[in-house]
């Protein structure tokens, strides 16, 4: 466990040395402030469009940070020839994978804290209300979703040749699930066999990361809290997928030459 945390610590330090987060955070803040400055029929209370834009930017930024940070972890170690000395120490391959995952996940958690504090402040500046529990639910499930994305990117970084191709493929997969994942069964009904069965298999096999993504609507439109048992179940569902991808990554990495 100590080794895993040591590797994770290095990954977190790497994130705050790089400029990705700062650039995306400043861009999000700038876009939101510009949108907030638009005069809409002299009404200063209108806020939901701002919340929607802000949440969308937060999701986009967090996905970019999660995927790009994770995708370069193992390839960078290999490129800089630090992977072999690292594994020569009392550190197993499995520990390295888990350490990288934990580092990226915790780093993304820190990023989300910053983003959601800004979001809360922006909403409160107009709504004069702090629905903290609602924000907590949204941020928590967002973080859980990122665990799946990070584990998938980590697996991709061991399968695909370059970090760029891995990032692109992961981004396309995640974006597709977020856009149409919920409706794959509806589309399947309209298709002929064997495509119908194939699509159904896809529908039940893919991690439904669109569930937390679509939760944005509840936050934007001030819907009441979701029951905690459903939050817990969804978190477990997402963590199960993250664990599956991590196990797959460990299996692939065990057979992979390190030099």
């Amino acid at each position: 466990m100590k080794n895993i945390f040591a590797v994770a610590g290095v990954v977190i330090k790497e994130l705050y040395r790089r400029k990705d987060f700062y650039v995306l955070f400043i861009l999000t803040v700038l876009i939101c402030l510009i949108m907030a400055s638009v005069n809409i029929f002299n009404d200063k209370q209108i806020v939901r469009y701002l919340k929607e834009i802000c949440l969308l930017l937060i999701w986009f930024s967090s996905l970019v940070i999660a995927i790009t940070t994770t995708a370069r972890q193992i390839p960078a170690e290999r490129e800089q020839r630090t992977l072999l000395p690292l594994l020569a120490k009392p550190l197993t391959r499995t520990q390295l994978i888990f350490g990288k995952f934990l580092g990226c996940w915790l780093a993304c958690g820190l990023v989300l804290v910053c983003f959601y504090i800004f979001f809360g402040a922006l909403a409160a500046s107009r709504e004069h209300a702090w629905p903290l529990l609602n924000y907590f639910q949204a941020a928590f499930l967002h973080w859980m979703t990122l665990s799946v994305v990070i584990a998938l990117s980590l697996l991709g970084s061991l399968v695909f040749a370059a970090p760029s191709s891995n990032s692109t493929i992961c981004f396309v997969i995640v974006a597709t699930i977020m856009c149409v994942g919920r409706y794959l069964d509806t589309i399947a009904v309209t298709m002929a066999e064997p495509f119908r069965s194939i699509l159904y298999v896809f529908y039940f096999a893919i991690p439904h990361v669109e569930i937390p993504f679509e939760m944005r609507n509840l936050i934007v439109h001030d819907w009441p809290l979701i029951e905690w048992k459903f939050i817990g179940l969804d978190a477990l569902y997402l963590l199960a997928y993250a664990a599956a991808f991590l196990v797959a990554a460990c299996l692939v990495f065990r057979r992979k030459p390190v030099n």
Partner: protein, 301 residues
């Protein structure tokens, strides 16, 4: 080669080139400016006709906000949402909706769908009725639809419904000045629109209590409507009924009972429920009869 004369000639050549280039660009820039002026706004110039598609999307987005996010996607059954409810609620739009608006999702298709429904808006509400909280004190939240309506109007200045719907909700929020501005802008872009004239008349009559201006505007709306061909008139009977009914009501309130009756007769011809209007006509006839009959005397027989 490097003599001052060469440099001077080069400079002269450059100056001539710059002048010629500027002279060539000027008319083109002028034409661009003109077309931009004609097209009305920046979005039209940038997006062309596709701006209308985006405008429609933003209009639907406003309706989605009106329902606090409870809205069908292209994969859902949207029979009950063919006419946006925020437009339907203005009372001046012919509704094409049918089916149950509260259950467009149908029963859950599988466990993933059933589980996912806990994380999306799952109840039919309208912002003017309190939205998801059902708290009528927060019904002023209907203002949240305005950014999308404003954007929709900017993208497609020829869409009359955007102006009338925006003005109606602005009026409901007691923003009469803003509603007036929106309608005048709409009228500027669509000078033959009887719908905008009708909404403008409502603003003058109901918000400003200016009977004269309301009458003028509504009469102008009737003239614009009657200038349409027969088929278009037939397709837009509801708005004509609305205009004439409002004119009838205005004249009745002003005490011009025969004129009011004329307008109600006109409304009756266009109405799908002529019986209801007949009741109003009967009431006016009674009033006229009461006015023309001699006043009862208290003479002892």
């Amino acid at each position: 080669m490097n003599s001052p004369r060469t440099f001077f000639l080069l400079l002269l050549a450059l100056l001539v080139f710059c002048f010629g280039f500027a002279a060539d660009l000027q008319p083109r820039f002028q034409a661009l400016e003109n077309s931009r002026h004609q097209s009305g706004n920046f979005f039209n110039l940038l997006l062309g006709d596709s701006s209308k598609m985006f405008a429609n999307s933003f209009f639907v987005k406003a309706d989605e906000y009106y329902h606090s996010g409870y809205y069908p996607t292209i994969f859902d059954n949207n029979e009950a949402f063919e006419t946006p409810h925020m437009a339907e609620d203005t009372g001046a739009v012919d509704s094409k909706n049918h089916g149950d608006e509260a259950s467009f999702m149908g029963p859950p298709r599988d466990w993933i769908d059933a589980f996912g429904r806990h994380f999306i808006p799952n109840r039919h509400t309208h912002l003017d009725e309190g939205g998801p909280t059902d708290d009528l004190s927060t019904s002023d939240k209907v203002e949240e639809i305005l950014p999308w309506l404003k954007l929709s109007a900017e993208l497609d200045p020829d869409n009359i419904q955007t102006y009338t719907v925006t003005a109606y909700w602005l009026r409901r929020m007691h923003k009469d000045k803003e509603a007036n501005r929106v309608l005048l802008e709409g009228l500027w872009n669509n000078p033959d629109s009887y719908e905008i004239l009708f909404e403008l008349g409502r603003l003058y009559y109901e918000s400003y209590h200016d009977t004269v201006r309301a009458r003028n505007v509504w009469e102008q709306a009737v003239r614009k409507y009657l200038a349409l061909d027969q088929q278009t008139q037939k397709d837009n009977k509801l708005i004509f009924e609305q205009i004439t009914t409002h004119l009838g009501q205005l004249e009745q309130d002003a005490g011009n009972l025969p004129q009011a009756m004329n307008w109600f007769h006109a409304a009756q011809k266009a109405s799908e429920t002529p019986g209801l209007i007949q009741q109003q006509i009967d009431a006016i006839q009674k009033k006229i009869a009461a006015q023309t009959s001699p006043a009862p005397t208290n003479s002892i027989p």
